[in-house]
Symmetry: C2
Subunit: 502 residues, 2 copies
């Protein structure tokens, strides 16, 4: 943990150029490696944070002022200089360099300015994909199959061998919902060969049943699935996301609120999960807009990092199968390695796979996986749009997958997550009442805890060189990148100790 | 028109390598230029189509077969090789090279493999944007203001100086709708400083009024605004897009169906437009879900290339002002130069600008422009998502704008569009009954006509070397790129003549 001391020293120095800092921290990196016995994935990565100004500093303030005239800046957290950001470290225009365990709301997979991604982004295949963007559903490129097979589909969840590509998490979920509605109506109609009735056709054009059916998607309380009209109708995390926006009258089920530590509350938690499942069954069987799918996050992320046990999810799979309702697993935030498995639902040991799994964020592209051919609508152009995703981003995801394999990063998050969790348990003991409901054990680095002073905690973190995020009402959520190593965990733990002591 | 004869000759030759073809057509290009007196924008562009196989040819069929296992291929039009596509010409894996007047459903602005875009896509700024994708609402890059100002905002419609960035046309429209709902509810509430009531907060979480308000967006019959749940509720073009998808019970107004030629139907058309405006006013004042915005395309594109007069749109602007309803102009397909103005609504000579203008497609990025600060929600995080657009695509749009200015492409579409329209009028006279309701005069290259054998016409076009698209039930829509020149128009007209003769 020499690095924070190094930072302290740096603060007393006159501002240096970035290159000077880089060579300074590179020298420190050698020591770091020797002490922990761990090889850094990126030898040129800074070895520790550098805090030179209050954040936002003067340059950042200028950038915000300029932007505010044309862009809503009120949600800004900090201004970044990405060309100077590297590995786990985010740089700002004022020379500050923070250890980033928020990672663009959990969406940077393998580090800033990753050299392997840089090579992929400089390739002629990528440049052509950028400047010749196809309408994928009409004019796909000759190499689209190979881009899918060697990328997106190489990491497809077990049992799911097809993909519908999209642009971001919201439309990934909405297109999955559309697939679910079409599947259910096709069943009602008597199969793919039964044609639409004239009444269905004409009523659909005026947004009325039977063409626009009175069906629903069931989601869970405190769940988050996006912010467009359909996805927002399933989002239940915070009122600020939903206020003033018309919504479908779709049902929400109770999500089990587990008590921690888990080992002291096994019986209560089991009951909470059984009650939640009973609520799901009640809504499936009695809601006036019958649900044709249940959508669920493996770990409710925006809603406050709420976990449930593998047994709960196995129960949900059984229940949905029993009632012929689809199970959509929203892995937009949990997917792509951070939980110590590539997909968080790999932890569940399901007997049959989910019907659809949506992805985005760390994949840097989006869409949904599925296995059942009946989830392809019976006619073309029913599930369609101009771009239907982005080959450039699909090529980038392939490079991300390559990098995850090269550095064995899923094993890394499992290992480092365990180390970090232990360290946090230690801190929780030393600062009683400050780190509550520590959760995410065995879930890689997908760790969170509640803080009685959450907003203050998150704000103070920048002063000690860490960019950290919250979720829900009082959770601090850790969302480091997959390249977060033991020595980064040490820096994070030391920084947290400083905050807790202050 | 030497090029089609050249093609005819080429068909009798053994297949050549791409480079051989390129040098062959380059030689022809010289002749072409000399004859028309027009300098080609891209000297290396093929001078004419090359049709070597039926389309799809054997290589394309192989690619489709491979893709079909993992991706829905039923909507495929043709397989492309974009690295071999250049300028106005799209290449396929079988050595066919077609003049492309469909352009990825109107979304390629300045030609395939455009050298200026290639340079922009190879820049370090672009590569950093690709591999360090920010959560724009939280951690924008230091250069985001300059990227916006020198790109997206440089071409902002008159009176609109702010932007909300998005990913594609659907979410551009949906975020504009969200802005409209929040704006209206804020007015109802008594201004930005009046806080939400406890009832609004709690009801919003269960998708009920008053938190989820009983309000609507008014759209027009045969309009198209996207395929997600909110945007699809305003889309009225074809049942196949809407069937089986739940929709909001929002109103649709009559769109004036003009008769052609316009000069022979002035009185009827005027009445049709007045009736449509009366229908809008009736729905605004009486619909049970009061509309807080009207969304309209300058030219209804997917719905069949339906035009209305500038006077209709001026009337719509007046009507919406009168009833305190927002006017959202959906320029997803019409925007960025193809109509002979940068924005199609520039043709209308409005007294006050639209409240919001949405864009996507040829911008290669998406979002909505606005001018009224009240369209920024009163609190942060109300209009928000992780990525909120894509800086890489915003950088590309800037390069597109630079290229449009460098080659004066808006003037080009106005000029070439006029030439093409005259040529089509000539064909329509020579083949009575085959080219009906020719429309788009004075609208650049945004030209369409009805065909009694539309699907056959579009299919046959490939055989004579042209990739062309349809819209609505029977329209052939021309959507050439902005770099479409007079000699391309000649090739298109000659190809159409061949189809009509056959």
């Amino acid at each position: 943990m020499a690095s924070l001391r190094a930072v302290a020293r740096l603060r007393h120095l006159a501002p240096r150029t970035h290159l000077q800092q880089r060579s300074y921290v590179a020298a420190a990196a050698v020591k770091q490696t020797q002490r922990s016995g761990e090889q850094p994935f990126f030898p040129n990565e800074p070895t520790g944070p550098i805090v030179q100004t209050a954040i936002p500093g003067p340059q950042s303030k200028k950038a915000i002022e300029r932007l505010d005239k044309v862009f809503d800046t009120r949600s800004f957290n900090m201004i970044a200089n990405y060309q100077k950001s590297y590995g786990n470290y985010i740089a700002d225009p004022d020379g500050n360099v923070l250890l980033d365990v928020y990672a663009q709301i959990a969406s940077i997979p393998v580090g800033y300015s990753n050299p392997s991604l840089h090579a992929a982004a400089s390739s002629e295949q990528m440049i052509s994909a950028m400047i010749n963007r196809p309408a994928l559903g009409s004019f796909p490129s000759e190499d689209w199959a190979s881009i899918l097979e060697s990328g997106i589909l190489r990491v497809a969840p077990k049992g799911l061998d097809q993909v519908f590509t999209a642009m971001a998490g919201s439309d990934a979920n909405e297109t999955a919902y559309k697939a679910a509605f079409m599947w259910r109506r096709q069943q009602d109609r008597g199969g793919p060969d039964v044609d639409f009735t004239a009444d269905e056709i004409s009523s659909s054009m005026i947004n009325q049943a039977p063409g626009a059916p009175q069906l629903s998607i069931l989601s869970f309380k405190t769940g988050f699935h996006g912010r467009l009209f359909g996805s927002l109708s399933t989002t239940r995390s915070k009122a600020i996301h939903k206020l003033d926006i018309p919504a479908f009258d779709w049902p929400q089920a109770t999500f089990p609120l587990l008590k921690y530590p888990l080992e002291d509350h096994a019986e209560e938690n089991h009951i909470a999960e059984e009650e939640a499942l009973a609520d799901v069954e009640r809504l499936i069987t009695t809601h006036p807009l019958p649900p044709c799918a249940v959508v669920v996050e493996p770990i409710q992320s925006e809603g406050g990092d709420n976990h449930a046990s593998p047994s709960f999810f196995r129960g949900l799979r059984k229940l949905t199968k029993k009632h012929n309702v689809l199970l959509i697993v929203d892995e937009v935030q949990t997917g792509v390695g951070a939980t110590g498995k590539f997909w968080a639902h790999d932890h569940w040991d399901l007997e049959t796979p989910p019907d659809m799994v949506t992805f985005s964020k760390k994949a840097q592209t989006a869409g949904f996986y599925f296995g059942n051919p009946e989830l392809r609508p019976n006619k073309p152009f029913r599930q369609f749009n101009t771009w239907m995703g982005d080959p450039a981003r699909a090529i980038l995801f392939r490079a991300i997958i390559d990098e995850i394999e090269r550095l064995d990063l899923v094993a890394n998050t499992a290992r480092v997550g365990g180390y970090l969790f232990e360290g946090l348990e230690g801190l929780a003991k030393r600062f009683p009442g400050e780190i509550l409901n520590l959760r995410g054990k065995g879930q890689g680095t997908f760790i969170a805890f509640d803080s009685p002073r959450r907003d203050e905690f998150v704000k103070k973190a920048k002063g000690v060189g860490v960019n950290i995020g919250g979720s829900g009402e009082r959770a601090v959520r850790l969302r480091p990148m997959l390249i977060f190593q033991q020595h980064h965990a040490d820096i994070l733990l030391e920084a947290m100790e400083k905050i807790l002591k202050s």
